[in-house]
Symmetry: C2
Subunit: 152 residues, 2 copies
DNA sequence: GGGCAATCCGACCGCCCTGGTAGGATATGA
DNA sequence: TCATATCCTACCAGGGCGGTCGGATTGCCC
């Protein structure tokens, strides 16, 4: 699996917030019920989003969370990075000591790390797809595919 | 981390095989020494490549492994898939019961799964970057960046 | 002001997967 | 027949992940 459930839950949470009016805060309880996710765990997830400045919060009764800016100004790459940390296809990408394309696994092996060339391309592919998708698109998608409620 | 070390080791192994002449088999021992990887673990890795038909093997003394076809006919997507299994950004991609873009997490939640739209794009980005990279490119890269040996 | 609703925070915990080892069976060239 | 090498399966420790728990804090409302 590429991404953990934190990413899944966090993205859902953001979509849910994007569906709400930004005027008033939405409590985690509402979201947890709507999505069927454990409230206590969502707290940890949303904490990452808050620290990344993607959502804002109000404490106390009738508190909750809301998007810190319009959904069409939020690229999904920011959301996923906030939840998962740096998008790194391989371990040696995390602490990139140097800028050179040398694999930290064998810094003195005598030749450039061919695998790093591959992982760099993969990373680019991932980031590009995340950069060109906005939260607004996902919200729009979820609205379009929503069944008409009630009278069914 | 996106990919496991099996992918890293397996790709290195393939590059190493691509650097050898395809006439005679290369033993795992040689590769393990060259890359500084545990031999016993490489056996498991190469087994996946063999089962996927990417390498062939000969047993017994002077046995070893070689590419089953020229390096420029091997797309890295095949290598990575053999090593990692299906390229799935999220759990619900593994057993895709239906073809519809509905998330298996909540099959009856009343609306399409917006996150699946996102993960589908990510998956596309990954696969595209892996499909457009051949093993030959990596071999070529590793040859180009190789320091001149010996007289240094 | 008291209580309730909510965010915040950090410790804890079982499970599973990953990375790796061990040991042996089998095949084959010298 | 011996050394070399692939093949196969079981085993194991460690760590990360998904999740829980308990409590502190904050703020609206009656």
């Amino acid at each position: 699996m590429i991404f953990s459930s934190k990413a899944e839950y966090g993205v859902r949470l953001m979509v849910e917030l994007g569906r709400q009016s930004p005027e008033q805060p939405t409590s985690l309880k509402v979201i947890a019920d709507a999505e069927g996710l454990p409230l206590a765990y969502l707290e940890q997830v949303v904490a990452k989003l808050r620290k990344a400045g993607l959502v804002m919060s109000a404490r106390g009764a009738h508190g909750g969370y809301w998007l810190s800016r319009p959904a069409d100004e939020i690229a999904m790459v920011d959301v996923v990075q906030a939840l998962e940390g740096a998008i790194a296809p391989m371990e040696c990408f995390v602490h990139d000591h140097t800028e050179r394309v040398l694999c930290s696994h064998e810094p003195d092996a005598g030749r450039g790390c061919a695998t790093k060339l591959l992982w760099t391309r993969v990373q680019g592919g991932i980031i590009r797809s995340l950069q060109t998708t906005t939260l607004a698109e996902l919200v729009e998608f979820s609205r379009r595919t929503e069944r008409e409620p009630a009278h069914a």
